[in-house]
């Protein structure tokens, strides 16, 4: 017994892990940006007065929320290309899967935000002659964004974690590099622990921000 933790291994693998970190960050930024924009339009569908649009929005959200993210990634990489008759790179498939997943979850954040604004706000804006669209853009949205900020930061944390699933499609992000290194050197303890710590260092500031925002919001309320 008496396993020796090899710290030199940690130093040795850092440059390779760093390359993975860059890909993880690219994936994270792309999926979060696309997901937040698309999610907004899906939320608009969900609160639309037109029933078919509401139904479509709801179906989108339920489908992406009730299927594991890993299945979505695998579906977009192995199944979707057959449907469209074109090959996708692992990165594109991962972006597609994670973005749509993010869109579904953020649509729910927008929706609860929009619906949390009291009726009186709408009525007040209409009373001073604002149109429905103008009311939405100038009165409702600014309040929604402020209220929903902690929830969005939380989502950003979740997306950062979900990007690790792209390793299953061989996207060369952090987890993939970790898996590769640990099978090459046969030092899974050092390598996987380091990978975990790198994720912690990347993600913890976001969690902290989200908690701080929530605290501030509660004080104001």
């Amino acid at each position: 017994m008496g396993y020796q933790f090899d710290f030199s291994m940690v130093i040795k693998i850092l440059p390779v892990l760093w390359r993975g970190v860059i890909v993880t960050l690219e994936l994270w930024a792309a999926c979060l940006a696309i997901g937040l924009i698309l999610g907004f339009f899906i939320a608009l569908m969900r609160v639309s007065p037109a029933a078919p649009l509401r139904f479509l929005g709801r179906a989108f959200v339920e489908i992406f929320r009730n299927i594991p993210a890993l299945i979505q990634l695998i579906w977009f990489f192995y199944a979707f290309p057959i449907l469209i008759g074109a090959q996708l790179t692992p990165f594109t498939a991962a972006v597609l899967g994670i973005s749509l997943n993010t869109a579904a979850f953020s649509a729910e954040i927008y929706r609860s935000g929009i619906q949390s604004i009291e009726r009186g706000q709408w009525e007040g804006a209409m009373a001073i002659g604002m149109s429905r669209v103008a009311t939405f853009r100038r009165v409702i949205l600014p309040q929604v964004f402020r209220r929903m900020l902690p929830a969005f930061t939380n989502r950003a944390v979740e997306v950062a974690k979900v990007t690790s699933l792209a390793s299953v499609l061989s996207v060369h992000e952090l987890m993939y590099q970790g898996r590769l290194l640990s099978s090459t050197y046969y030092r899974p303890l050092e390598i996987l622990t380091t990978v975990g710590i790198v994720y912690l260092v990347m993600i913890y500031p976001m969690t902290w921000t989200s908690a701080a925002l929530e605290r501030r919001m509660r004080r104001k309320a």
């Binding site: 017994m1 396993y3 579906w75 057959i82 449907l83 990007t163 899974p188 990978v195």
Partner: protein, 221 residues
């Protein structure tokens, strides 16, 4: 582009494999939920303990699991122990340990959130009546907190069922792993993964309808 000929028939001939996979998913999810509740109770008790060192330990545990991706835990539990301590875990044990330790962290937060949401006045009132703090917890706080914990508890349990699909990366025969086998036997990834997505969707949708029904009933009481 040639029209793709869907063929679910050849995939469905392997239904016993899918059924086995479904059983695998249900088995590890159930084990992880049960162990997670016990572990979560311990961690929550640590986080609310009067000893600072226990509080720090509990907080560190929760923060670690909240800020690192699940797939890292799966690989760590499966690959590190054999090298370090010569302990060989099978895919089932590794997957259950990874899922259960992770869910302990999340359930701990559900429990803590529920208990701390009960106002201080309830504690004071119980103490004023001469109840010990153990009695107050058992008779006054927990019955009220339990009702508030139902929704987040259900949500976390759903996350566990979805996360159980990561066990496929350790070659444990749950739904996704079985699906991957079928896809490679039949050369029908489109049908297989679409079917898999459908099975997950139905499973989770059914469970969420049940949970909603139960929640509504609970609120009426």
């Amino acid at each position: 582009m040639q029209q793709y000929e869907w063929d679910f028939g050849s995939v469905l001939t392997y239904w016993p494999m899918l059924l086995q996979g479904l059983w695998g998913t249900v088995a590890i999810s159930t084990l992880a939920i049960l162990l997670g509740i016990v572990g979560g109770g311990l961690v929550a008790a640590m986080r609310m303990s009067r000893y600072r060192s226990l509080r720090i330990l509990g907080t560190a545990y929760v923060e670690f699991y909240r800020n690192t991706p699940g797939i890292v835990h799966f690989f760590w539990v499966y690959y590190a122990p054999p090298v370090v301590a010569n302990v060989n875990l099978g895919p089932l044990e590794a997957a259950v340990i990874a899922l259960a330790t992770q869910s302990s962290a999340f359930y701990a937060e559900v429990l803590r959130g529920g208990i701390q949401s009960i106002g201080n006045g309830q504690w004071e009132g119980a103490t004023a009546l001469g109840m010990s703090s153990k009695d107050a917890l058992r008779r006054i706080i927990v019955p009220q907190a339990a009702r508030r914990m139902v929704a987040p508890f259900v949500e976390r349990s759903f996350e566990i069922i979805k996360t159980s699909s990561l066990a496929s990366t350790l070659a444990y025969g749950e739904l996704l792993y079985q699906g991957m086998q079928i896809a490679s036997i039949t050369y029908r990834p489109l049908e297989t993964y679409t079917l898999l997505a459908l099975i997950y969707f139905l499973l989770l949708y059914l469970l969420s309808s049940l949970a909603k029904f139960a929640e509504d009933r609970l609120q009426e009481v």
